[in-house]
Amino acid sequence: MTPVQAVIAKELRGYFVSPIIYVVGAVFLLIFGLLSYLYVGFAGAQAIQLMQMQGGMAQINLNDLVFRNLFASMRIVLLLILPILTMRLFAEERKLRTFEFLMTSPIRINEIVIAKFVSVFLVYLGLLGLTVLVPTVLMLFSDFDWNPIWTGYLGMVLLGALFLSVGVFASALTENQIVAAFVSFGMLLTIWLISGLGSLFGDTPAGRIISYVSFMEHYERLVRGLIDTSDLVYFGSGLALMLFLTHRVVESTRWK
């Protein structure tokens, strides 16, 4: 086992022995299930209306009526839940003075940052994996296209990775976990609201650049079923930037 794997294993263990993961996981799955139920309910109501208007069996499109709405709503859920997962990563180490131990161990700072990110990312992937149950169950009762669902999941994976990297960065800034969570809420909401600023500028070069910075349009395209290289570049570079900044922050704590 390499040092990086050792840190990942230790972090994963840290997640599963603390109550946070169970509470966060339960809330996450509950909300995902509740949203799915609501959207399926709305879709059903619309189907009944259609049947009354047209007569006979109306074929409703679950992709449009359920999954697109569900994935779009998940943005706010992820924004609220993921900072809770990341807040402990560096803040707790600093609070409990194990940070000094980690920094004096023969492991590079970038390895520590990547190990911490990978551990929380694996936890998130696990949670996301459990939600596949919803489309699987719906498949038994209805016909729909799986492809936009996979791109929607890809969108949630990428968006989640970006949110988590912002959370890791915020956690490195402070030794207080609450502050870390709050800073990541603030940062994520700001990036969200930037898209509104972009639409104020309209379809000008400045407006397009500002809209590009926000994750909104990139995530929406993936939810619609479009895989665009520019969106992948956006998520990839955002993630790399946040992890790089985390490295700088961790490095700078040595100089204070």
């Binding site: 086992m1 840290g14 194990t98 000094e100 131990f101 004096t104 023969p106 590079r108």
Partner: protein, 328 residues
Amino acid sequence: MIDVQNITKRYGHHTAIDRVTFSVAKGEVLAFLGPNGAGKTTTMRILTCFMPATEGSARVAGYDCTDQPLEVKRQIGYLPETPPVYQELTVTEYLTFVGRLRGITGPKLTSALDQSVGRLELGSVRHRLIGNLSRGYRQRVGLAQALLHDPPVLILDEPTVGLDPKQIIEIRELIKSLAGSHSVILSTHILPEATAVCQRVVILNKGRIVAEDTPEQLSARLRQSEKISITLKTCPADCEMKLRAISGILNVLPGQAGGTFLIECELGHDLRDEIARVVVSNQWGLLELRAVSMTLEDVFLQLTRHEDHLSEPAEAMVSTASTERMDT
């Protein structure tokens, strides 16, 4: 093994350590003594590559702390001020994690773990969560962590804090047994600990080295005069005067209890037999007569209290510290 040249650490305008120079040979045990805020922890943090020095260079086992931090970290076992333990892990899990972090795997890790657990007598708590252990046990887990990979250099920041007296003695024995094969730096403000464990003592005050020597020589060097304490059964008014008349006696101070005097004589003149003769011939009744030696505690207080005289560069104090300078 450890070579520190003129390291300075500044936090903004505050200078935590100022041109500190010292070295530790292979197998030597060195103690950092000093009041709180003297710069002991800062020096250790620089040596363990936790933070870089503002100026100067530090080398551990031939590797530079600034240029080859990973190599330096591999050579060091470090126990910080607060034992760096993860409360949610058991002792075995924690030590396994530490071993893997340092690149020890497989059967080697198992044997290193067993040895480390045995050395610190952690066998009975191996499978308990560290969060449920007492302060003393946590400290020992911290020490087990530092010793796990059998590093050539050990840096221990107050290793006996939080232990009970029996454990303190055991840890001191352990550190003594490491001397010879390991170079050890430990910091402490318990003075007998330095005398008991270390071959050499570095006294730090306000970020500067104010003295560096063996515990015995430190106390010898700082003695400005021989001091003799006597207790007399009867002491007529003229006895102080008669004692002063003995050649070589500098001062006679009445002690706290009646009949007790503290006599200062010139350095290198042992006047005990002369004093005894005078007392006996005057029939004052000699109850006690003994030479007063300076403990490390006195040395420490003397060195760290007279701050005005310590403003000169630390090196000068260490190499040529003369008795007059310490006085005045």
